[in-house]
Amino acid sequence: MTNKVIENLYYAKSDEWLKVEDGIGIMGITDYAQDQLGDIVYLEKIEKGKKLKQGETLTTIESVKAVSDVKTPVTGEVTETNVKVIEDASIINKDPYGEGWIAKIKIENNDELKNLMSAQEYSEYRKE
């Protein structure tokens, strides 16, 4: 089991990470999540402009033997999606925090970040 975390990111209990840059949140799934899923083969397309509340389902991710909902870590509107992972979902396995990012969301309410965990907290939460 792997459980790598990156400092200075926010983490959700449902295993998503969030990087905040100028009011935009870039998100993806954590190293733990990609390891649990196994070989990821498909990510369902996300519509740009989609508006969601914190915790709602953004998209579905499929591996060989599992299906999982990806939740949005913050309330907001989807401004951009990563075309590369739609074409080749295995990038998420290889580089979940970098090339494997999933979507960019315009953060509506910064207070919501309080509901997320720090790298240390998440690392503890997902300890074996």
């Binding site: 070989d39 083969v41 498909y42 060989v64 033997k65 074996e128």
Partner: protein
């Protein structure tokens, strides 16, 4: 192994034609221009000898129940008696056309009618439909019956309660039946959490689908309270009969208050699995639900002394398949029940329960049981403690194959916190103590290997016709026909040894 297409040689024949091909009639006189195919559809051209050798060789790459144990939980892979096969293939049955006049098929109708009576007695229900072709098909049928019952009363309900331990077909069937699935968590004993059930059961809920014993192999001792809670709010109780092998002659779902029951004839009732069917998922109901059964059912006219197909009426849900049933499967079931008799059925459940508990007792020091209690006809242990050696439950399963045995069910059921990395073992009554001891020895060996030589497990199997498969590549490349493969011929670059083994 080489595909039949790769053995094809132009001009070879595997068929024979009668002399008279009606050459006096021209095809243009028969078929309109807009419909005739311009070219022959290309299949393959091989001789009968080629075909026999091809499929004989293919069969040897398989493992069947006559080879050995299939300890698959909730599958009840028991011995398929040979007399069942003989009697199901009598020529008066196999050549019987489903729409032939009723007076010509009295034998078929008699068997279906008698089987109905037997199944009602065995399960405590009032009438069975033989229409559903598989368990999931039965679930859908049963759910549609439940739905129609409420619609008929003007009481439209939207939700179905399903335990977290349920087989995937339960929620899938409920969704097909138009219901929203509400999950009921299991308690620390592995059975339905009665408090949660009482909270969730309301008048917008059609009912509860329950497998009993459940998929971790445990009888739910709360069954009477469950019945009170569900019926108390006007709901119906559905029995998933996949695990009936633990109850024959002991308890009947009808007596426990279930309104709808499905049976898997290819599980409990010994009909062969065929690599994934055909079986049958017959549905039994209580009296008040009979009007909703799919049409027709077999009835007996005591005046004319004739069996006939009776329309269930305007409240029927309709039909769930063409014609009447998977008839040959019914014959095998009928013959099995008559071979066993009441003592044999009780012996079946008694032996399978003893088998499962025996395996559990012998393995529990090596594989922690999911729940520390006696089980029904199947037991669930976990491979959790081998994770620290880098060994997953999957690796354990693959290693079992190296010992010449089929692995048990893995990763199902899966619900936190107890049922994780699960290994679900069902040794049916047709398995002897020696086979079980052999299986136990293998499992103990493997637990040793996990500690001393984990790589042997993570790279297993080694002794099977093929080794671990690249399932992610199968999805990515999606080669679903030989023509798909031909399109990628240059990319694939198979060598002789890769395809001719």
């Amino acid at each position: 192994m080489k595909l039949i297409f790769e053995k094809s040689i132009k001009g070879r024949e595997g068929y024979s034609l009668p002399h008279d091909l009606f050459n006096d009639i021209k095809v243009e006189e028969c078929l309109p221009e807009y419909a005739i195919s311009k070219d022959k559809k290309v299949l393959s051209e091989v001789s009968e000898v080629d075909v026999v050798r091809h499929f004989t060789k293919l069969s040897k790459l398989n493992y069947g129940i006559d080879d050995g144990l299939y300890p698959l939980g909730s599958c009840t892979m028991k011995y398929n008696p040979k007399i069942n096969e003989k009697l199901a293939s009598l020529s008066n049955f196999i050549y019987a056309h489903p729409l032939a006049p009723e007076e010509t098929v009295q034998g078929c109708l008699e068997i279906a009618y008698d089987l109905n009576k037997l199944l009602c007695e065995i399960t405590g229900m009032d009438e069975y439909t033989m229409a559903p072709a598989a368990g999931a098909h039965g679930e859908l049928t049963g759910i549609l019956i439940m739905r129609k019952y409420f619609v008929d009363r003007g009481d439209i309900r939207h939700k179905m309660l399903i335990p977290d331990s349920a087989h995937g077909t339960n929620p899938a069937s409920s969704a097909m039946g138009g219901f929203q699935v509400v999950e009921v968590k299991s308690n620390e004993k592995g059975t339905v959490d009665l408090k949660k059930l009482a909270e969730l059961m309301d008048e917008d809920t059609v009912g509860l689908m329950l497998t009993n014993p459940n998929t971790v192999g445990l009888y739910d001792e709360g069954i009477e309270e469950i019945e009170r809670i569900v019926h108390g709010k006007g709901g119906l109780l559905y029995y998933d009969g996949a695990n009936l092998n633990a109850s024959l002659g002991i308890i009947r779902p009808g007596d426990a208050g279930f309104d709808v029951v499905h049976l898997n004839l290819h599980k409990t009732f010994s009909t062969p699995h065929g690599g994934g069917g055909p079986g049958a998922g017959v549905i039994g109901v209580k009296k008040n639900l009979i009007p909703y059964l799919p049409t027709p059912i077999v009835a007996f006219d005591s005046d004319k002394k004739k069996y006939y197909l009776s329309d269930t009426g305007e409240k029927s849900i309709g039909m769930v398949r063409a014609f009447w049933s998977n008839f040959s499967v019914l014959v095998k079931t009928y013959v099995w029940i008559l071979s066993m008799g009441p003592d044999g059925l009780y012996n079946t459940s008694e032996t399978s329960i003893i088998n499962a508990n025996y395996v559990l007792a012998k393995l529990k020091n090596y594989y922690k049981p999911a729940y520390d209690r006696y089980c029904g006809h199947e037991c669930t242990v976990t491979g959790r403690e081998y994770k620290k050696y880098g060994v997953k439950t999957l690796d354990i399963a693959k290693r079992i194959m190296d010992y010449g045995m089929h692995p048990p069910t893995i990763y199902f059921p899966h619900f936190e916190p107890y049922a994780e990395e699960t290994i679900m073992i069902e040794p049916p009554e047709s398995e002897s103590k020696e086979i079980l001891d052999n299986f136990i020895d293998i499992m103990i060996n493997i637990s040793d290997e996990a500690k001393t030589n984990p790589e042997l497990l993570t790279t297993a199997p080694h002794n099977t016709p093929i080794r671990r498969t690249n399932d992610a590549l199968a999805i990515k490349r999606a080669i679903l026909t030989y023509d798909d493969e031909l399109k990628l011929k240059d990319e694939l670059k198979y060598q002789e040894k890769d395809i001719d083994f």
